[in-house]
């Protein structure tokens, strides 16, 4: 648990950023139709807006579990101190990165 729990948070955060950036999702949910379609499917006037976020969460949870399993294999004495730092530092950096990526929502009217 000492290594698995922090590793889960770290791997989740890293993969979530990747999933968001490259839109890695196992499925797309269309709330207007209450339908799930496999892979990345764009929205349209007929199917309504897509939700990719659920898929990013699913993939990130799986990545977190893989990260936790890998952490259990690594030598405990060498990595314990690193995990206690990375467990909050990586999510903090991920939050900073996502905030930077979202800047276009707040600066759109300044470009023109």
């Amino acid at each position: 648990m000492e290594r698995a729990a922090p590793a889960f948070a770290v791997a989740f955060a890293i993969f979530y950023v990747l999933a968001f950036t490259f839109n890695y999702t196992p499925f797309t949910y269309f709330p207007a139709l209450n339908e799930i379609k496999l892979g990345v499917v764009p929205g349209s006037d007929t199917v309504g807006p897509p939700i990719f976020w659920y898929g990013w969460l699913v993939y990130s949870i799986l990545a977190g579990l893989v990260g936790a399993a890998v952490a259990l294999v690594l030598p405990a004495k060498l990595t314990e101190k690193a995990w206690s730092l990375l467990v909050w530092l990586v999510p903090l950096v991920a939050i900073a990165y996502m905030s930077y990526e979202a800047r276009h929502w707040f600066t759109y009217n300044l470009a023109g």
Partner: protein, 151 residues
């Protein structure tokens, strides 16, 4: 039904916000012996006693928010985009991301409060991050609801 779910989601968020704020302030700025003012009493809580409640409230609020999110995506976000109110959309998008990171920190949060209380820096940083995420999400949820609720 959607309104009831949104209100319940909000009520759970209030409880979560209160618990995490008590715990985070008590951790960062512990009450000293003899301090009896209101702020000191607010901080003078047994932090570990909040941990399980915070986890349950976080997960319950997250699940309800995840359900309400479908309504937001159909009925709230498209009009905001049409009205060019993109900063509000951006605030909500950040809320989605931050809450996901917070969710993933919950197992470590539990571990460092219950099993490694001596690791004060790690415990403090996780708790403060979670508190900031929940405060952000609470305020943004209110802003979006004020800009355009379900009505």
């Amino acid at each position: 039904m959607n309104i009831a779910l949104l209100i319940t989601h909000g009520l759970f968020a209030v409880a979560l916000l209160g618990a995490l704020t008590h715990q985070a302030l008590g951790t960062v700025w512990p009450r000293k012996p003899g301090q009896r003012d209101f702020v000191a009493r607010f901080r003078g809580v047994n932090g570990v006693g909040y941990t399980d409640a915070v986890i349950v409230l976080y997960i319950a609020t997250f699940i309800m928010g995840g359900i309400v999110y479908t309504i937001y995506r159909i009925e709230v976000r498209p009009p905001l985009e049409a009205l060019q109110d993109l900063p509000t959309v951006g605030l909500f998008e950040l809320k989605e991301h931050f809450l996901a990171f917070g969710l993933a920190m919950l197992p470590a949060y539990w571990f460092f409060w219950h099993r490694r209380p001596e690791q004060r820096l790690t415990r403090t940083m996780i708790t403060v991050l979670l508190a900031l995420i929940v405060w952000w999400s609470f305020l943004v949820g209110h802003i979006v609801n004020n800009v355009r609720g379900f009505a």
